[in-house]
Symmetry: C3
Subunit: 681 residues, 3 copies
């Protein structure tokens, strides 16, 4: 029996294809709406996200609501065969609201309140704003919860946490701290406030970090970021509650962002039923697109893993270029389909765009869209969208299937905050994010699935866990890793791990603190290298790799030494070790090594664990494969990001191309920016 | 009969030679004033700009005026044979005024009012400031309008628009918007405010752009800049009115600035009777000074064209170095005369300096001046000034003559604002200004005169109009260009043209919008290239040029394809086209091409139109010629900016050197930094 | 009879060895204090700086004092044989104080008051803060002035001047100006305020510089910096007074900083009995550490010269790495001892660290310390500290000895302020600091002692004075230099000297102003060169050096021309001159020449004056020597910063290694990062 997740909506058990749609921008152009409907069919679209920035149009003055236009939009979309993700409009508020209730606006770090303008410029704590949000959400839910077109709720837009420093936020922050610490004594210890005489003797002395106030108490900085996430979650709860109160059981989502850091998605993910995100890779910077493709894949894998592998939604992407990057390159022919299908390959059940039709004016008028200012189906971009839609319509079988990852990579947001906020040991760049990318890359090159998780996620079911720079080790994590290893797992740790606890207090007694027994090493010192400086990592078999930026000076305790440093005062000391524990083992990499090292090291790991993609033993550079499966049948997405044509040998005959029904013999040829979807059944 | 403009002042129909003069700085040094008079004669000066920052000295406390010192200065200057441009002192106000009436100071974008300090730190809307200005100007005009030394009014100094965000300015901005749009409905459409729910429902909701408020509504940004210009004009009107009220008919001017962007000189020029500007080229950065010379020439041509070719004034320049650039290089021997004569060659009837005598203290004490801290006529700089003055005295015949340009280059300030404010397609650099320079350069190299105009200027009388990146096409411009072309003119357009209307709203129906029929092409997409990336532009005759930064993907409709792209997905598509219309034609250049392309292309254009300098067919690199004419007789200024000696062949014998009366045979030799002025009569 | 200074404390006439000690950070860890005492003995420490940031622990609420913990700390330290520098705690204040009395916090240049946070965030003028400081200092002094452990007062921490712009500070600044100038007339002349109409007519119009107010009046900027220093001195007087009032005669010090510019140490030094400073060189950026070693030596020589050669204290240094630089490199084995002994070699009688034990949390938890988070004596860093302590214990004879410098280098803080604030002639970099370093370097390479002084220091006793870029020449300085030269001294001056007086008013009548007769030259112009541009300095004997950045165009008047320029319009004009005056002479270097020039030039100078180190005639690159002497006996510190092993030939046999008692023959071998201390008696 096949095992798969349910589709996002039972109403439409297909790969969703569509865009953000803002018809209210075109009210002055009466022909545009019906022309849009005609073009949506042409473009093979079946879903639109509606109402994302419509607050003014829904509530043009305080307490005056206008829904007729939206009734009409939803009705006509439904008649046209297009389903709707209905948005709550809190991402931007009408000018009348800011004018009358300035408290709805964000107060900056400098304690000066913003003026009206932009989007996302609202205080998550403001009682007034919350009241307005509850009311409009409630009205929307009541009116549209049973509309046949509506298949889900798109809550607000790209939540960013607000990062408001107003008095309401200060008050809520203090309450949050009271809840967390109980007493100031506990807080003072956690923040190590005797340093620089910073001890608090009254809660009212506590304030959020400020450039002209406190920036150096790392515990405060960290807790402020945690509060931001929790406060955003609280705000989002208040967005969702009136919807649920109407009895609506449609899934809620909000669009997440690439590599986003200002909220801890590791917690925030619990607010949504389905994860969705906005992906805007900047293709064609280099001759090969492998780098950007691997980074995008990493993000897809992060989003997918957030809900235990449940398919996510590619909520926004550009069918051509964006307008906000430094250089707006057009997608070359094929790249639009390739990058869209990459999302599906990594677990998305949708391909959606920002936006349907280019704005005529203001900030995003040059952002790519399905329909150009030109206005017809003639442009290349429209044609490519339409053709992709044709293909997606053939992938119904893939809906709800999984990516069955046996390896996990820990990319933990609190750890990231703490590493980036710390002073030392390399303020010029500790490069946690790049390190994560570098450890991910060899898996992508091998076409082996990886879940990108945080340290509080479950470790069950993985064969390999890679935990680069696990600087912060929160309560219980070491024990859970130990259980994972003893049960047969392979854990990979690196330099600058086991340094602080969840309050950013250094572990006493020798690094890597709670990981010391697990890794079997003592990390005495960490040496930073200037840009351009290197050391060597030497293996007994003669292999020599290059290390840079960070070299930890470690002593093997119970661990076995696999490689040693080649120079500086720690020449001959351990550079790579392995520690055997129960049925498993722990590799420790003491220095930041080059890409060749990571490739060789990871390939050996995969070899040891017998992990490989099921399609081919030979992937050219820049070509990768991702597998979706329902447990019985598999689909292999073979994708060429190399910018060059390649032939890929298949490990057996008989793979069928899902889009063409062509059966392949021993190899498949891919042009630049081309993909195929193969199945063996 | 010769046709020429009148001299700036009938009192002195000569090339004016002089400086800003601030005798009040030296009141504590009683011998200095008479020594200055002696040195002015030595330096062959005949004009001084007086009173530019003299407000405190004129009005040392509120309502207390002291003019005796100025009476004495003007009388003695006159007795010495030196005429005066008398300034109004509003460029900086006394401390007593800021202290008592803080509203006179600028309020920043952050809505915080400045403290007293610097210059140009005043609100153009402040009723108090306007009152003070009216009074002091009135008193100056009454007292000196008939003084024999005074030949014109130097209004304030380097108007910059103020860019104040105080409540007065907000109020005036709203009034300006009401005047422009009539209703909020019209404004909302023009600014496309449905985007991000930005619709205004009350005029009081409108505020100027702010870093902590609105920055993304391009229509607002654009109108704010327009308001700044209009408000500055209104302020200047209030400066001039009390002068005219006294019956003074002397010309007014204010000093403009190089490539200035914060005011739209295309409108602001209407406030002055004579254009004047401050030119501070940074010579000797490279071995050849051609680049900076061409840019300076472009500015001269811009200033001259503002008043339909009427001679302008070089109001300020440094006889040696300035003190504010990164590296203050001394002018090498000859360069002072050469750069001064360059202004005259391009239409200036004056050579003036900032300043006469170096300040002893404060910000500009190391700025070049005629008289050094050393204090005598001994230094090299003084000697070069004096020698130049000798030469200028021989150029009376040139006063009032024209530069008869048959080509025009559109460099439009509103277009510049809009291009630079837009998001996309290449935020890393759309480089409008550099593009203008690049299109200007081949004309300069050919020694062919160009008027630098804005799109609202008249197109009559030109043979060629080059309109690079005509992103914004204001109402009526396309029609006027069409008439120009049909009448036999040649128009050159480029990529990123015909994109938005005057509200920065994109043209619908296909780019280049209103220029589509004119150019005979449809611009489907524009591709941005990263730094270092290139494409090729190939002509059938085998010529290949390099393109970078921006490549528009165009389709020839009625146009003929002259060249095609060499690579990327648009290889083989049109890169250069020509469209025939009536008696004229329109060239369209789809990509940003290299300097060689622009040189070859422009030379061919000049060839087609039979335009050439009347002096020589062979100008070495870095050597150029500019012609002034009264319609019957011409003066050719042959100038060597190459840093190397060169011989230049003359197209005929008999040219006479105006300064030496030497008659040249078939060629003329120029040392580095040397010029000659030749006439054939 | 030997002549030497007294030891810092008669209680312990030894080289002091210790650290900042903050036991209150560990109150929650009851075993740590006694463990610290045990480890201090292991580390051979004999002094600790206590209480530096202890204000909260001493006064946990307003008026409530807790000293018992400190009693216990001092008692136990004393019992353990560790002496104490007792700190006043004003470097950071408790949160309760900021909350109740916000006036204690700094108001920024933007006139916005800081929030509580960081350290050093206090207004030096605040009456409230001064009252609190007086009270706590008084209590500390009363209680501990006679404690046997206490040997001196460590006043506050790293005084930075506060740079507060609150109303109190404005008021005090105006009072300071009244005191300095008497009348506004005098001030207006000194600040040259007629420029830009800036004349003040009331003291209330005067405000400190502000980014949104005045920044361009250089006289104001300069006086504001002077006021900052004087106000800090006034504040420090108020810190010291209550201590002296108790009758305590223990020496006071406060820790100075490397190359510090925000206070004028040339004046501030008068506040302390003993100079101490915090040295954090960033070793191992390059293969050779010579650059950073020479710069560190320069700082040591600056600190030593402040008190006429009296030994100073190395108050803080890191035994391993710091945490605040871009790249935190570990000190390689030997470097800790070498860099510590370098301080002693240049006149320190102490080697002290920040800090004893690494903080567990907050900003400095990764800053090097004697005791690591690991917590025992096991780490390499602890072992190196301990071993160094063993060696220092053998250097009792060196305590109080001098470095007998015959050369002085003028590095004047007011001059530095004025040069850096000036506009022109090379805003991209006048590089005064680097110039000082470059002139110092050849002395360091020769192992010849230099005092680094300001222009108000005495010139007696020197053979050579090098005065690079003596832009400002204060009243009387030229006369004192003349006396120095006439008495037989050699003075070296350079380009950009003798330009302004102490009010930053340019000298009239020809540069170098008051140095014109002394140097025998007239500096007509100064030319700036772009990066990459060079000129040549040619000597008649064929030597050619390279000049860059600044070339002064000078005329020899009474001076003899030694070298001339090679190119540009001043080719052939003087580039190096010498002027003979009385028994001495003045060299003038007109351009910024390369390192080879400075080396050759300085070596010749030393040759002329017969100055050389007493140890060796051949120092390899990166190896230097510094001598301490009591007038009869000398100790030579031979130090290898080259990163390579070297053998150094000795100029005679019989030098004894003070640490090993080994007698050297004709040479001594040094490994990388090794030193020896040799004496010949």
């Amino acid at each position: 029996m096949t095992k798969r997740f349910k589709p996002i909506s039972e109403k439409i058990p297909k790969i969703l294809h569509g865009a953000d749609y803002n018809p209210e921008q075109w009210f002055d152009y009466p022909d545009v709406f019906e022309e849009d409907l005609r073009l949506m069919k042409k473009a093979n679209c079946n879903v639109m996200s509606v109402g994302i920035f419509s607050w003014f149009t829904l509530e043009p003055e305080e307490g005056v609501f206008e829904f007729e236009w939206l009734d009409h939009v939803l009705d006509r979309l439904y008649e046209t065969g297009v389903y709707v993700l209905l948005a709550t409009p809190s991402g931007a508020r009408p000018a009348w609201m800011s004018k009358k209730y300035p408290e709805v606006l964000v107060t900056g770090k400098n304690r000066i309140r913003n003026l009206h303008g932009e989007r996302h410029n609202h205080c998550y704590s403001s009682p007034v704003y919350r009241t307005f949000v509850r009311r409009i959400n409630s009205k929307l839910a009541e009116r549209y919860k049973d509309h046949p077109a509506v298949i889900g709720w798109h809550i607000s837009n790209e939540y960013n946490g607000g990062h408001c420093h107003c008095d309401y936020c200060q008050e809520r922050f203090r309450d949050w701290l009271k809840e967390r610490y109980g007493t100031l004594e506990v807080l003072n210890h956690a923040w190590w406030t005797r340093f620089w005489s910073h001890t608090y003797t009254s809660w009212t002395q506590v304030e959020s970090p400020a450039p002209h106030g406190e920036t150096s108490v790392h515990g405060l900085n960290l807790d402020w970021m945690r509060f931001i996430t929790d406060n955003a979650m609280d705000f989002m709860r208040e967005e969702i509650a009136p919807i649920r109160k109407t009895g609506s059981e449609l899934p809620v989502t909000t669009n997440f962002m690439e590599g986003f850091n200002a909220l801890n998605y590791g917690k925030f993910k619990h607010m949504v039923d389905v994860v969705s995100w906005d992906s805007y890779p900047l293709w064609h910077r280099d001759e090969s697109d492998a780098d950007i493709a691997a980074w995008t894949a990493l993000n897809h894998d992060w989003m997918r893993a957030m809900k235990g592998g449940r398919p996510f939604m590619l909520m926004e992407s550009s069918p051509s270029m964006t307008n906000w990057q430094n250089v707006s390159k057009q997608k070359r022919p094929g790249m639009h389909a390739l990058s869209s299908i990459q999302a599906v390959a990594h677990g998305s059940d949708t391909v959606q765009y920002f936006q349907w039709r280019k704005s005529r004016g203001s900030f995003e008028k040059f952002h790519g869209a399905v329909v150009d200012h030109e206005g017809t189906e003639k442009p290349r971009v429209f044609q490519e969208v339409s053709k992709l839609g044709e293909g997606l319509a053939k992938l119904d079988d893939i809906v709800g299937t999984k990516v069955d990852a046996k390896a996990a990579l820990i990319f933990d947001t609190e750890n990231r905050w703490a590493i980036n906020d710390a002073k030392g040991p390399r303020n010029q760049g500790l490069n946690y994010e790049a390190t994560i990318r570098n450890h991910y890359r060899p898996f992508w090159e091998a076409g082996v699935g990886v879940d990108v998780i945080d340290m509080d996620d479950a470790f069950d079911g993985y064969e390999i866990i890679v935990a680069p720079m696990l600087y912060m080790v929160r309560e219980g994590v070491a024990q859970r890793l130990e259980a994972f290893v003893k049960g047969g797992g392979t854990l990979v740790t690196t330099y600058w791990s086991g340094i602080v606890n969840e309050s950013d207090l250094a572990f006493l007694g020798g690094f890597p603190g709670p990981l010391r027994e697990l890794t079997g090493i003592w990390a005495e010192e960490i040496d930073s290298l200037h840009d351009g400086q290197t050391n060597e990592v030497k293996f007994p078999d003669g292999r020599v790799y290059s290390a840079r930026e960070l070299c930890e000076v470690i002593h093997a305790e119970s661990a076995e030494v696999l490689a040693t440093y080649g120079s500086d005062f720690y020449a001959g000391m351990p550079a790579v070790t392995v520690n055997h524990l129960g049925k498993g083992k722990v590799y420790h990499i003491a220095s930041r090594n080059d890409a060749v090292f990571l490739k060789d090291f990871t390939d050996q790991l995969l070899e040891e664990k017998g992990l490989h993609n099921g399609l081919t033993e030979s992937l050219p550079d820049g070509v990768t494969v991702s597998e979706r499966t329902d447990g019985e049948r598999s689909w292999f997405f073979l994708m060429n990001f190399s910018g060059q044509p390649h032939s890929v040998p298949l490990q057996k005959e008989g793979f069928i191309d899902v889009l063409t029904n062509h059966t392949h013999k021993d190899s498949v040829h891919l042009n630049a920016n081309q993909f195929v979807i193969l199945t063996d059944q």
